[in-house]
């Protein structure tokens, strides 16, 4: 790794250090630390980490998807409704179907944005209402279920923490790394960085955006399925989708993705989910009011982003 690459990885390194410090702090609060506790950690971050990664892809491409949480909630409701009391093979088949549904919803969103020329934030705000509405129609009340074998494959049998960890790492290995190296990956950075230059370089801007939203939908679907696998039920609530969306943006930004587009990766957002998970749990363990812990999480996000901004300014030099 040369110096330039090292500089580019400095954000990830800082996030890892912060996550380790917070992790050590959290562990010190527990009477013991073993597989069971590790599993709790991983389950705590899996859905939001996946969602942050999907959001990160879209933000890197110069967009933002405010419907990503709603999409995850919809897939959560769909899967919990139709996977209840099914065989393993049927649940698995349904999982594939719902992943495709997620990809299609994402692609459709990207298509609407490209064709209409309306800002991402407006289109996806509208689709977020729409998708939550559909989710509440699918599952008017919390409930549903999933085949237990599939659930164990997602969340691991207590105290096995390996399956959820695989669920977290596999998308990075199988989706992110190949994507980053592909022409689509470069095009993604290109349209987020400078649309005109991307166009002049031969990038099909609209098609790239549609593909990115499709990938975002894929991650949202994975997140929704993970939620079903962990909770064994569905939560058709608008506030869950809103919180999830905002956390996905916070995760992406904490993870080193610039809201202006063109900068960042997916590993940072995945790690940032750990930070977003540790802070409230640590504070809760001290008996601190959840309201305060919200304030502290918010303040920390600002501080981290501020420090990152200053760091970037200094390394980039005055322009």
């Amino acid at each position: 790794m040369n110096l330039i690459q090292l500089k580019r990885q400095s954000w990830n390194l800082a996030i890892i250090v912060l996550a380790l410090v917070l992790g050590a702090w959290r562990i010190s609060q527990l009477p013991q630390f073993g597989a069971y506790e590790a599993r709790t950690f991983v389950l705590g971050i899996l859905p939001i980490a996946l969602l942050s990664m999907g959001q990160a892809l879209i933000i890197i491409g110069g967009g933002i998807n405010l419907a990503i949480g709603a999409e995850a909630v919809l897939i959560n409701c769909l899967s919990a409704k139709y996977m209840l009391d099914t065989s393993f093979s049927k649940s698995l088949m349904l999982a594939v179907v719902f992943i495709i549904v997620g990809v299609l919803i994402g692609a459709l969103t990207g298509w609407i944005i490209s064709v209409s020329g309306i800002a991402d934030i407006v289109v996806t705000l509208a689709t977020s209402f729409l998708l939550v509405g559909v989710a509440m129609y699918v599952m008017p009340q919390p409930g549903g279920g999933i085949n237990q074998t599939l659930a164990d494959l997602i969340s691991g049998k207590v105290p096995n923490f390996i399956p959820p960890l695989i669920c977290l790492i596999l998308p990075i290995l199988l989706i992110w790394i190949p994507l980053y190296r592909s022409k689509l990956g470069i095009s993604m950075y290109a349209i987020g960085s400078n649309k005109d230059a991307a166009f002049l370089s031969g990038v099909n801007v609209n098609l790239t955006r549609i593909k990115l939203y499709a990938f975002g939908g894929l991650f949202a679907a994975l997140s929704g399925l993970a939620l079903t696998g962990i909770t064994l039920s569905s939560s058709p609530f608008a506030n869950i989708s809103n919180t999830a969306t905002l956390n996905s943006v916070a995760g992406a930004v904490l993870g080193g993705v610039a809201l202006s587009g063109g900068v960042g990766g997916l590993i940072g957002p995945a790690l940032a989910a750990l930070i977003l998970y540790f802070i409230p749990t640590i504070l809760l363990a001290y008996g601190i009011d959840p309201a305060y812990s919200q304030i502290i999480t918010g303040a920390l996000t600002i501080v981290v982003v501020l420090l990152g901004g200053l760091l970037r300014k200094r390394t980039a030099g005055k322009k």
Binding site: I4, K183, I186, S193, A197, A198, L200, S201, A316
Partner: protein
């Protein structure tokens, strides 16, 4: 020239944007192994023609034939595959990714790119992020990338504007190499001397029509200017200025050995009231920082700035503005609010004239703005959004706002970069008018011949110091160039 042996043949090309006609019946031919200059005032349709040729936009009417085959380019990629490769003034490299990934994006052969760059005597770290590379080098990288695709037709759009002399020479070598290989080049430049020197033929556009095509040779300059401006607007040929005896002896600004950044070291000079002081330098001698310091954007590491004999420090550009020092930056885009109207852009800096309670006297503002528009002859056809103005008119707006605001010292950083001869002339005249009103101007230009046209005196910066301080009679291009390269000039 018969169209059957030309490489590129454009016939009856038309393009309009809404009611604005950019091109009406443009005809244009390029032979194999020819360097062909494409000229025209801003708004003549050059950019539109280039955009159509490179697949950025499509024409409403007319035909393009390449090697006798009629084609339409649907995208820049399409044009590239057909052997047409453009290099624009703003490099088409993605800022946030590495050069290597930029090459992959355009399916450029890496080894080929490196060797093209090496042929120009340049080297670059392929892992470097494009945004971290300085603009002149980035343009050369873009050029090397275009060359890697071995284009039949290379289109260079204003690539030498604001390029330091050594790099500009490399571009010219590249063009001659292409020609020697039997490939063709379309060269767009506002530097007429370059065109005379290297182009075989020149075509001039005016109001969307090709008005003249001729062999470029020494002395074509007059014909070019005439064709560009049309008979009606014919101007006096540019005349070098001589020293004024009437210059005031009062010093307005004094710089005492300021240092800062990588480049500025112990720089000192003075400007008198009503004086236009030219600044000449090769790229990267610290001139950018000097202007930023004077504009209150940066602080020097050491040294003093005296305005009217008093030491001043600026903590914000508004401090400089309040002392009457106004800055017209080199990059118009960084000065303008592109989506807003001419009026708002002109009135933006007029906060000194606003009443105590912050209410804008819109009548007064209107009068001042109208004054600026008429005295600068700003083309107001697209007045609702500045981004729709031509480059020359945008530049007039950036200067015009200081006319509405008022100033004592105007800092102009390369104000004529990439704008047409006619507008350049207007800007020189404007600068002279300021001087006649007793105002001072500090004018940096990358086009050395401008100094004798607009200034009273010039300093040449070399390695962060004033290498030469020359009276206007001594400011011919040869002397300036020598000093810019650190060679002593006889006083």
């Amino acid at each position: 020239m018969a169209s059957n042996n030309s490489l590129l043949s454009i016939k009856g090309l038309e393009k309009s944007y809404g009611s604005v006609v950019a091109l009406k019946n443009a005809n244009f031919e390029v032979s194999p192994g020819e360097i062909h200059a494409l000229l025209g005032a801003n708004g003549a349709g050059k950019s539109t023609l280039v955009k159509i040729l490179t697949g950025v936009i499509t024409s409403n009417n007319g035909t393009i034939s390449l090697n006798g085959k009629q084609l339409t380019f649907s995208s820049p990629d399409d044009a590239r595959k057909n052997g047409v490769a453009p290099v624009f003034q703003d490099p088409a490299l993605i800022p946030d990714i590495s050069i290597q990934r930029n090459l992959t994006l355009t399916s450029t052969n890496e080894a080929r790119f490196v060797s093209e760059l090496a042929l120009m005597g340049l080297k670059v770290n392929l892992n470097e992020i494009a945004a971290n590379i300085e603009l002149p080098l980035l343009r050369m990288i873009d050029l090397a990338r275009a060359l890697s695709h071995d284009p039949e037709l290379l289109i260079l759009d204003e690539i030498t504007a604001a390029l330091p002399i050594d790099l500009a020479e490399k571009v010219i070598t590249v063009m001659n190499n292409q020609k020697a290989k039997g490939k063709s080049v379309i060269f767009i430049s506002h530097r007429l001397a370059e065109i005379e020197e290297i182009c075989d033929r020149a075509t001039v556009l005016r109001d969307g029509i090709n008005v003249d095509t001729f062999e470029a040779s020494q002395g074509s300059e007059e014909r070019i200017v005439q064709a560009m401006l049309g008979e009606k607007n014919k101007r006096n040929s540019n005349e070098a200025r001589t020293s004024r005896s009437s210059l005031s002896s009062q010093t307005l600004l004094e710089i005492k050995s300021i240092s800062g950044g990588k480049h500025l070291k112990d720089l000192s000079f003075t400007i008198k009231k009503g004086e236009v002081l030219g600044v000449a330098a090769l790229e990267g001698q610290g001139q950018d920082l000097l202007f930023e310091i004077l504009a209150g954007e940066s602080n020097p590491e050491s040294g003093e700035i005296l305005v009217n004999g008093k030491i001043v420090t600026f903590s914000h550009p508004s401090d400089a503005i309040n002392l009457g020092i106004s800055y017209v930056p080199g990059d118009r885009k960084s000065a303008l609010m592109p989506q807003r109207s001419i009026r708002e852009n002109l009135a933006l800096t007029r906060f000194r004239g606003i009443s105590k309670w912050g209410v804008i006297n819109s009548k007064d503002e209107e009068v001042r703005v109208d004054d600026a528009v008429s005295s600068l002859q700003i083309d107001t056809r697209a007045k609702s959004q500045v981004k729709r103005l031509s480059g020359g008119n945008q530049q007039k707006v950036t200067i015009g706002r200081w006319v509405t605001t008022g100033f004592d010292l105007l800092l102009c950083f390369d104000p004529t970069r990439g704008i047409d001869v006619g507008t350049k002339q207007q800007i020189y005249e404007l600068v002279r008018e300021f001087a006649d009103q007793g105002k001072s101007v500090l004018l940096f230009t990358s086009e050395l011949r401008e100094i004798q046209l607009a200034c009273d005196r010039a300093i040449v910066i070399y390695e962060g110091r004033v290498q030469a301080d020359l009276p206007i009679e001594k400011c011919d291009e040869e002397n300036l160039l020598n000093a810019a390269h650190g060679i002593a000039v006889a006083k």
